[in-house]
Each structure stands twice: as structure tokens, then as C-alpha cells.
Symmetry: C2
Subunit: 403 residues, 2 copies
Amino acid sequence: MKKVDGLLEEHGRSKIEVYVDWENGNYVPKEVFEAMKPFYLEKGFANPAITHRLGWETYELYVETKEKLVQPLNISPQDFYITHGLTESNNIAIRGVAKANKKRKKIITSSVEHLSIIHSSRYMKSQGYKIEEIPVYSNGTIDLDSLQNMIDEETLLVSVQLANHEIGSIQPLREVIEIVKDKNKETLVHSDMSAAFGRMKINLNELEIDLATFDSSRVLGPKGIGGLYVKEGVHVKPLLEGQLSVETLSPGVEIMPLIAGFAKTIELEFENFDEKIKNLINLRNKLLYGLYTTIPKTLINGAEGEKRIADNVNLSFLGCEGEALTVECSMNGIYTSSGSACSSRILMPSHILTAIGRRPEEAHGSLLMKLSRLNTEEQIKYILETMPKVVSRLRKITGSIEL
Amino acid sequence: MKKVDGLLEEHGRSKIEVYVDWENGNYVPKEVFEAMKPFYLEKGFANPAITHRLGWETYELYVETKEKLVQPLNISPQDFYITHGLTESNNIAIRGVAKANKKRKKIITSSVEHLSIIHSSRYMKSQGYKIEEIPVYSNGTIDLDSLQNMIDEETLLVSVQLANHEIGSIQPLREVIEIVKDKNKETLVHSDMSAAFGRMKINLNELEIDLATFDSSRVLGPKGIGGLYVKEGVHVKPLLEGQLSVETLSPGVEIMPLIAGFAKTIELEFENFDEKIKNLINLRNKLLYGLYTTIPKTLINGAEGEKRIADNVNLSFLGCEGEALTVECSMNGIYTSSGSACSSRILMPSHILTAIGRRPEEAHGSLLMKLSRLNTEEQIKYILETMPKVVSRLRKITGSIEL
């Protein structure tokens, strides 16, 4: 890799900057930071399981904070378990469920899940489990008939995310649950809701789901904290071994500043929720269809309309390469990511774009822009003005496409 | 449990407050908080593995921060892996080493390890591993002859902490390594150094150890972040499954605010290190021997002199019960913990006090006070004045001891 200093110098810094890479990182709003501050400096820093004044105070603050945190989900705080984030939540949902329910040995997921689900399932395969992946249509939603055929007596768990984190397709979760419980009411249903929470209405009680994953950093909160909803009566075990405190699915003392930040960002997210979502969908449509209609040879990745989550813009610009796109965008102050194999040090091609049938040359030119409540109309305008120049320049350089 | 509100009201609040429960929770010094602040609000919030300006900037900040972080340990940043804290580090040290080295199936630990080591070993036992525990002397240090006899061809790993987190005994780690490598040079040695780091000199390079655990919150840093040192060439695998970013033993995006806080607290801890440790030992001795000599029927738990880590005060007040002690201390503004079974909602009796041969009635009256660089001479004086009254009142109530 080139020395970063040099890269940054050559690169310069755009006058206008627009951050639409909320999938991969976020700063926190000032109010969220202010909510964490006292827990770092002056209160709620004790172990809530310890019997002294500061322990009790911390316990009280913990209970209060957690009540606030689960309020928009309409569930009891007892059914929401704090974890270190979506990776741990998803690991527990697959492997912790298997650990606690040893009779049935088959797990069904979809082919477009987050890598923490895909890799957890592969791990279970190495432990003798049967793993099956539900195929998806070209819009990224799962094939319910395949699911129906996969469920059998042996099926322990079906894990299907609510909205895809990369291409935004919303899965028919209500139907998934109906099909599963109809065929084998013992089979548990888990959903990674981290890419859907805060972008659409979710009423867990009404859904009759068994487990669901949430993450603070996916709703502009601090990294390093998340949760797993577990319906009362569902058996699940922690994956890390150690000393439990008040929380029982992830050992160690409760991380109060992060829990408080998580609760605050949820409070902010759900203020005037309907209006916020309407606004987000409006911005998203302007950006998605604005780019699609003004830049030729462009494909929309993922579902459209009601089936697309409110914050997701993902397009493939044919004849462009992912890393070149993110760098050229960056030079223009637009921060995005790509599902291309070469667009990050991770060097992972997107299994999601492959699953929806994108050919390599289509996946290479993909660009993910995620919006948040912090993005504005002006920013969308700037992206719409800038991207045609970005794409056109790259296409000229590579000469790979006839325009 | 009694409603916490009521408890706090009855309880009142002492005019003088002394926090010596650093083992179980900590606020962070203002400088540590200030070091985290920009990473929450304005910089280094991107994914360091993503190819855009903010990703590269985050990567640079990450590299810089990590170099600072490992500086007092005299190791390369590449050999220090960031984790969510000591629980994850210890789990990886036992289970992640076993996952990556499948040939040998015996693990040796000591009987006084942190529960994350003890429970990780038990987990490996359930997977068919042979687990042996080195017994300890009454001062809490391990029996090296027993260790010598335990090591065989099958031994994958020996895990012995550097200093005990509860009774402060420092283990003869140099001898442990010599004995192990002498008998089987393939056997790996891990040490949980979380209770020793920042309280004594540690030069990992010189020690020739294979793996070592560290935790930010044990040196007044933020919770939720820690590390595992892994000597170059030693094989180990992550335990959580998911998408790796720059760090490779714990999947997920790097949590820069916490990494920055961890680095800052280490910088502060190691300023004028020798003087700080001298001062800590001085305060510790005043408190430990002050209480021991002025309160009758008191036992010192753990080793003394050079063999006791600088911050640890642990005594058993015969005829007292742990929960009553922590509550009565709390009423007087002194915040401590106890190894007694009833002193926390965890309801775990201390396996450590049992291992050093304390009878139940001795373990019940145990009180742990941990000091930090934030404690003062005046605070020690206050504790020394107050504790005789606390113990005497409790002994009168229970009438369990002849004074």
C-alpha cells in the first residue's frame, strides 16, 4: 500500500464534503456525545452488580436507560440483551442458540446475510450442522418457496435479515415467520434488524419473532454496543466465557457510557419518526433515481419502492471500478463505499451482489451511498451535480465503455 | 431485591467519599475523556479499511494511536491485537489458541485465574480437552513443582496471570516460562496481565512470553476495549465470526474513541512511572498494615512485600459478613467490594479465597480495596480512621466474635 501521507497530500481536500458512508462508520451527534459524557466522568461508572451506593446508583441508571432504549421496539427490557454490537449479536443468534438447543442440527439463512451470519453458519457447519442458504431473486428478496421446502423436522433456526445492509432490499419477514411456524413450530426465527431499525416501523411484539439483532452504530450511536432481542422462553447461551454481571448474554461489566449513547441516539432517531422517514425516502429517491436517469449505463442494485429500505442507494456504474469510484468521489468530497473486491483493504468481493446475479463487471462498478437523518437536500444536489463528472472521467480513463 | 430508591434514601450520602473499587468500575480522568472526544465528534470515525480520504485519515490515526499504546510494553504494534476487553482477550488466549493448534489437547491454568480463564478452560473441557489447575500456596502464588509435573507432550498451553486481580499475589512468571519451555518448548505460555499492567514494570520482549492479556478499564481507561499480545509466529484464531477490518482477532470496525482513550490512559499511567509506583506502594502499605494492626482478628489475603502488586489491599475481618461490610463502608462513603458470596448480585463466592485455603467464615469477611493513581494520602487517612468503627459496629450487631 502507498504511504497514506502521500496519498492524502496528492488527494487534496474538497471544499464541499458529503458523508454518505454511514454503513461503515459514523461520528455521533452532539446530543449523543453529551448523553455519554457524565457516564465517563462522574456517574454510573460502578459495577451495577456491586452492593454499595455507587453500584446501586449505576443499577438504577442502567434500568432507566434500558427502559428508554427498548421503548420504540415495544418490548420488555428483560428481553433485550446488551452485546458489543451486531457481530456479537449475530454470533449469539446462530451459535449461542445452537449451544443452548442441541437436538436439531439444521440452520437456514439467506444468501445475502451479513458476514457475521454467513461466517457463524460456516462455523456451525464445521461442527457437523447442516447449513442451507435461501436463494434470492434479482431484487435481493428471498424465494419463499425455497424456504418452505427447506424447513424440516431437523431445522433449529431460520435467520433472515429484515433489510439488507448493502442493497437495501426488505425481506418479507412476516411471511417468513408464518411459513416457518406453519411447517415446524419448534423452529426459531432470527432476524438481523440492524440495517432496518430506525428506517422503518418495527413492532417486535406483533411480529412474533424469536430473536432480533440491533446495533448502535447503525443508528448514529457509538460503536461497540448493540443488542439481541430474545423472546421470553427462547433458550440461548453466551459465546464468551466469563463473569456475568447484570446482563447475561455477554460477560463483563456493563459499559454504561455506550449504553447511554445507544439509548440517546434511539430517542433522537424516533422523534417525529414518520416525518423523518418520509424525508429520508424523499432524499433517497432523488439521489437514486437522479443518478440512474442522468448517468447512462447504470444499474440499480436491490429492490425498489416499498421493498427498499429508506436510507439505501446502491448503483452499478458499468465500465467503472469500485476503488477508482470511491477515490474519485473522495477527491470531490463525497465519501462512499463499494461492493467491489478492490475497494477496501478487506479485499472481499460482495457476496450480496453475486447472490443477486450481478456479473463481476457489474459488481465492480457498484457504489453504496447510505443516507442518514444528518444528510440534507443540498448535499443530495451536490452529489447529483458531481457524480456524472466522476463517472464520465473514469469511463474516459479506462475506455472500457462505449458512451 | 429491595427497591433501590428506598435503599439509597435510607442510606444517605457521606460528606467524604473515597472510591477504592477500581477493580469493578472506574470513571476516566478528564484527559482520557478529552482524548476520546474528537473521535466521537469529528475525526477518525470512518472505517480504516475503506478507500476514501476519511478512511485513510482514520487508518493513519489508528496506526499512530496504536504505536503510542504499545510503547510502554516495548513490542511492535503488529503483535498487539485490539479486543473488546480482558474477557474476550482471555477467551481468545485459551479457546482461540486451541482453535488454531489442534494437535495437543491439554491446557494448564492456575486455580486463582480470572473467571474468564477458568470458564474458558471449562468450556474446552466440554470439548474433550484435559484441563489441569496448578494449586497455590496460602499466599496465592503457584506451586512451581506441581506445574513442572503437569507439563507433558500433550500440553498445548499454560496460562498463569502475572498478578492476581483479587488478592494481588504476583506469580513467578519468569520461572513459569523457564520451566515450561525447558520441559516442552512447543507449549505456549499465556499470562493475563490486566491486574499487573501499570502497577509494575513489564517488558514483554524480554519475558519471552507467547501471549498476554491487557484491559483499558484496569488502568482507568474506558470500558469495552483491551488487547491481546501475540508473539510473532504464534497461531491463534478469533472467536467471533464476521468481517475483519484492520484488526484481525476481533471482527468489526475498529472502535477508535475507545482505542484513543486506552492509549491516553496508558500515556498518563506511565508518566513518572517509577515515582508513581513508589507512591502507590507507600499508600498501599499504609492502608494494608494500618488496618491490619489497628483492627483485631484481621487476616491479610494474598502475598506480601515484593510479591504483592502495588494497588492491592485485601483483608478478612473475622466475624463480619461481606455484604454488611460493603454497605456499612458505603454509608461512610468508602466504596469497596468483597469476595463474599452475598456481596453482589452475581452471588459467586470467591474461588480465589477458597484456593488459598480460606475457610468460609474467613472468606465471608473479606474486603477488597484497590488503589489507583487518583487516590490520595488524605483518603487513606480517612479509611484508616473509619474502618475500625465500621468493623466494630458490625461485630457488635452479629455478636459473632469475642473481642
